[in-house]
Symmetry: C2
Subunit: 360 residues, 2 copies
């Protein structure tokens, strides 16, 4: 087992990574201050892992709420099911919510924990690669609104993250690939050696070799933890984590939540960001090809869905959270391994990028 920490002063918390962690109540229990725990999971993950998670809670009062599976259920309405469960069981301010599932479950359980009685404790047990390397770390929680993704949420840090690599054995190939998009992102924005490591290990990751997966998760979490510790509330460099996401959110909103996986939309978005970076003279075109080649080897889409027009994109991107006082901010690449926040992107270049993608 590897352990690292997100350094946030008195809210510092550990991330444990490795096999067999669901069988380790000793890792979980020190982070549950009260006597009540509610496991939040979904209809896909619960049959596989809920019994094991609840066994680790023996001696506490523990209950579970099972939500429908999928991004399309990441809504205020589903969130209310968590509140109803908490209130039906008369859970109080000292209770702990435990997210057992992928990014959607983590986002909803975390947001419910942020809001229930104005804030209760929260633990992440991510069971997808994407959740293990990205969404379970850093305290961003949210639900979607029909007019925009992750528009309603809170910053609420977990007390502990348990990334049990055994749970990746049951992950569908498509979701494994979607997780790799976020892994590759860390290489692109701030870790060229990791990018090179990924170029030489991508097939081992796709083959789910335990050692390779553990290393990829650990190196991803180290990058994320460093960024979050430096800028918890995204007033600066944390925005780099959004490489590909402004484009990606437009894709997810435009085609309807759940059609594209988040990581797939981010992959296509990172290709657009690389293309735009090249048009601005920041990347060489062969570097853009290198990005595309790695994403392609991970089985990820390189172009946005054909149904989305350039005008659709521009309209959808205009409501993204990265907009400030009407000016679009994009995360682009000054070089491989060097992301930058571009505050005033030339709209003509952006249009060229979107139209070029249409012609691929």
């Amino acid at each position: 087992m590897k352990t690292l920490h997100v350094e946030l002063g008195d809210r510092r918390y550990p991330i444990h990574i490795g096999p067999g962690l669901l069988e380790r109540p000793d890792l979980l229990r020190p982070h549950i201050p009260g006597q009540q725990a509610l496991v939040v999971s979904n209809a896909t993950v619960a049959p596989l892992y809920l019994d094991r998670a609840r066994a680790a809670l023996a001696g506490l009062r523990h209950e579970a709420v099972i939500l429908p599976d999928g991004e399309r259920y990441k809504t205020l309405e589903t969130l209310n099911d968590i509140f109803t469960a908490l209130l039906s069981h008369r859970f109080d301010r000292d209770c702990t919510l435990i997210a057992l599932g992928g990014g959607v479950i983590g986002d909803m359980a975390g947001f419910a924990a942020a809001c229930y009685q104005r804030g209760v404790h929260f633990i992440q047990i991510p069971t997808t690669l994407l959740a293990q390397v990205d969404s379970s770390v850093g305290g961003k929680t949210a639900v979607n609104h029909p007019l925009g993704k992750n528009m309603i949420g809170a910053f609420h840090q977990p007390r502990c993250v348990l990334a049990d690599t055994d749970t990746l054995a049951t992950l569908p190939d498509r979701e494994l690939g979607a997780g790799l998009a976020e892994v590759i992102k860390y290489g692109l924005i701030r870790d060229l050696p990791f990018l090179e490591w990924l170029e030489s290990h991508i097939e081992r990751l796709l083959a789910r070799e335990t050692a390779a997966l553990s290393e990829a998760i650990e190196r991803s979490c180290r990058n994320k933890a460093a960024i979050v510790a430096a800028d918890e509330r995204e007033t600066g460099e944390r925005a780099l984590l959004n490489l590909g996401h402004t484009f990606g959110h437009a894709i997810e909103t435009g085609v309807g939540y759940g059609e594209w996986l988040h990581g797939e939309a981010v992959a296509a978005g990172m290709c657009l960001a690389a293309d735009l970076s090249a048009r601005l003279g920041w990347l060489r075109w062969e570097q853009v090809e290198r990005v595309r080649a790695l994403l392609a080897r991970a089985g990820l889409p390189l172009e946005p869905p054909p149904a989305l027009t350039t005008d659709d994109f521009l309209r959808l991107m205009a409501v993204d959270k990265k907009v400030r006082d009407g000016r679009l901010r994009l995360i682009l690449l000054r070089d491989l391994g060097r992301g930058v926040i571009a505050g005033a992107v030339d709209p003509q270049r952006l249009r060229e990028t979107l139209e070029a993608a249409r012609r691929e």
Copy 2:
């Protein structure tokens, strides 16, 4: 105009109290950092004051959303109407929400501001006595759930509170009385001289004499600001502000939101708290009578609704936020002007209090 501050370090903010403040853009504008402002109001208050509030925003991009009036609409569903308005107008992370109304509007606009894009700016313009002396100050925001009041919310401080006493001219008598319940509360929990002042000025307050109202609002806000500055997140003494509220929430939930005004339920709850304090030997019975006499002069109810049985009460109180790990905590009185957090109330005494109230 009187001005005091809630001392919360870099989130310190002013409370301005006096007539004509809605005509003072100079008080409002320094607290709006961006270019976009959304006024949140309701169908009762908007026709009276919305034009004036928007006039003070000239030069900014300002929009309004008008919610239905009443505690029964303080739900996640109505909250979503605020998000829809924000997204339809493409408001970004630098926008400001302005609550123009009573406690329900303040609680909902504040919670929407806490959650929209994980947190935007927020200003309170309370137009009821209750909101001016209590709910607009201190950053508690929430919506109700059918199983419990204020169960879903956040701590999110405003950047400024404008209490324009002119707006009290249009307040129905019943709502003025409900506000006085919270005013009297400050006297009971920590300010005996203020309690005595209220005993000699209650008729002037009911007659809406401007000077008396301004003084009552200022002295109330000073008490609240001191408590909030010492304990923003209610880990200790802030709980004193809940005198009468655990009983009161049970009444509100039990009879259905909106039947009793919040302040009316708190008044009956304070009578129960005083009665229980006397049964524990902490108050003399003539002090209980003094509390009841003042509340009666303000036109407030002294007993809970007859339809609510003792068992209803105990069941409803068990889900209150003041419960920790199954133990009911109540705010009681050790003396007039001296509230205490009672951590382990004798259930038999509590039952006696509830049954005595049934026989009144």
